[in-house]
Symmetry: C2
Subunit: 150 residues, 2 copies
DNA sequence: GTTCCTGCAAAAGATTTGCAGTGAC
DNA sequence: GTCACTGCAAATCTTTTGCAGGAAC
């Protein structure tokens, strides 16, 4: 888990990157970027809309999807698909914040984890593949600690 | 890549498992199981419907989804989500046929691959996690050999 | 003042469900 | 003959798009 300092760093980087790409500092866009920067794990579009409705300001579903698309295009947002009906998104962090997900098959909760051995195996494999690998995503499924303690 | 012998083995196992679970040997169900058993990589629900329309018999979209659900519930079918609008499915093979996917960001093609180093890293990690891991899914993204030869 | 941003409502896709007729046992 | 299976059509849910008014620059 990374510090909130690093996460808020993402919001700033994202805001700068969008500005550099010629986007204006609109209300919906800023609110979405700020909310995403505070998250420790992935949110769906509906969750982003719902969360903002109760907080900073109401933002339309359409704007949520539009901003998500901009951020994903700039490589700032990672798409997380875990088979629960809707796609989820989270800040794309390299190095320290990089993580993957465990989905509990009983309670449906999403838990982040990271493992250097796994990253090393991915790096080695990427070098041997006849393709240029730019990203990877790993999802583990099973019963989480709360649902099936060992 | 596994032999067609192993793949057809899946159809038989799946048919038996469904029969044991009390399902009857209906036309749509049999056709779908047979088609899936012949595949070397994942198909979407629409692809299954379209493929069957040209071959063995016409099967409705609803039946495709219903049979997929039965097979997935029995642990015979693996769900593959690679962010292309629709979910894909393929026979769940353990051991020799086990593989993961590379998605080309340019042409969108899906390519299977397998790597023992990666599997080893997953096994080690699973033992150390405070959860009971039953499955894992790995997706690599990048430019495939045809789109960006090294 | 111009151009981009946003919300609303409608559209487009994917998946699920209800129901009546058909088929497996 | 009974109960499950299937297709059709309608419903539901997520995501995308068109357009008109409002905001950033």
């Amino acid at each position: 888990m990374e510090s909130s300092h690093e996460r808020s760093g993402w919001s700033e980087r994202a805001a700068q990157a969008l500005a550099a790409a010629g986007y204006r500092r609109g209300g919906a866009r800023s609110a979405i970027v700020e909310l995403l920067g505070e998250q420790s794990c992935a949110l769906s579009a509906a969750e982003i809309e719902h969360e903002l409705r109760g907080r900073s300001r109401k933002v339309s579903r359409a704007s949520v999807y539009r901003v998500i698309e901009e951020l994903e295009g700039a490589g700032l947002l990672a798409r997380v698909e875990v088979g629960q009906g809707s796609v989820r998104f989270e800040p794309a962090l390299e190095g320290p914040g990089h993580h993957h997900h465990l989905v509990c098959e009983r309670c449906g909760r999403l838990q982040p984890f990271s493992d250097e051995g796994l990253e090393r195996a991915i790096r080695r494999l990427s070098e041997r593949m006849p393709a240029r690998i730019s990203e990877h995503e790993i999802v583990l499924r099973g019963a989480c600690e709360a649902c099936a303690p060992r």
